[in-house]
Amino acid sequence: MRDARPVIPVIVWPGSNDDRDAQLALERLGAEAPRVWHTDEALPRETAAVVLPGGFSYGDYLRCGAIARFSPVLRAVEAFAAEGGLVLGICNGFQILTEAGLLPGVLRPNASLSFVCRDVQLNVGQTNTAFTSRCVDGQELTVPVKHGDGCWFADDELLAELDANGQLVLRYAAGANPNGAIADVAGVINAAGNVFGLMPHPEHAVDPLLGSADGALILGSLVDAARLSLAAAV
């Protein structure tokens, strides 16, 4: 069982553009990562976790993620998440999860109104999650961002609640906030702990040749958790 390759599908929308990087990263980290088209109404039967990749689903018209949330495959993702299935949304995937109400808050245009594309430093606030278990408390990660709409927002009441619950899992390091996100939030987990979204791109940082391999800690944590869920299901 230890060597089993968990199946972690990567969803593809028209306009997704990080799906192949996510697939490659997950496969290098020991998963099977079939790409699943947005019109599919079901996930592969052996699915142990799902990744919603970055890109510009349906052209990001209206609001980022606002239209993708109504795609057939998202019904399947919602049902999977409702049963405790692990779901990771990266960048546009994070935007889709907030629009779908699977994650709290909303992603708005960057405060600078400029697209940002650079490495940023992140602080890991929680390591007891399925998405950060390979990190150590307080660890600083270097992972790239590339987005125009990454300014995460929640009102004061919601923010305080999420903070108290330990749901603000990733934050930009001091001075590294690239988009004006409130409280420097870069990644948020749901209350149940099985759905996580982040603006930075771990799939672009899985090899020192890419400038950093820190993203592998996040995706590797997910592969570990998916493998555990697989073992538990047997």
């Binding site: 609001r63 405060a111 004006g180």
Partner: protein, 80 residues
């Protein structure tokens, strides 16, 4: 029935687009403040019943046209 939906950033929500527009207007010499930029959707609703049209438009706003966390909306119906 023709309808117009106005979508606005809620009061208190930072609106960088509005700030940029306001700053440009000032550069042009206009004395302005508190510019806010929203969105406008014109749409034909397939009913002549005003109440029904309004009910449908509200559902459209709640499901798709706005994100209620940050945006408010106003519906205008064209007089038939």
């Amino acid at each position: 029935m023709r309808a117009t939906v106005l979508v606005r950033p809620k009061p208190g929500i930072l609106d960088p687009q509005g700030q940029a527009v306001e700053s440009s207007l000032r550069h042009l010499g206009f004395e302005v403040s508190d510019a806010r930029v929203g969105r406008l959707v014109d749409v034909d609703v397939a009913t002549d019943d005003k109440t029904e049209a309004l009910a449908q438009l509200e559902r459209m706003c709640e499901q798709l046209l706005t994100n209620p966390l940050i945006e408010s909306y106003e519906i205008e119906l064209e007089h038939a």
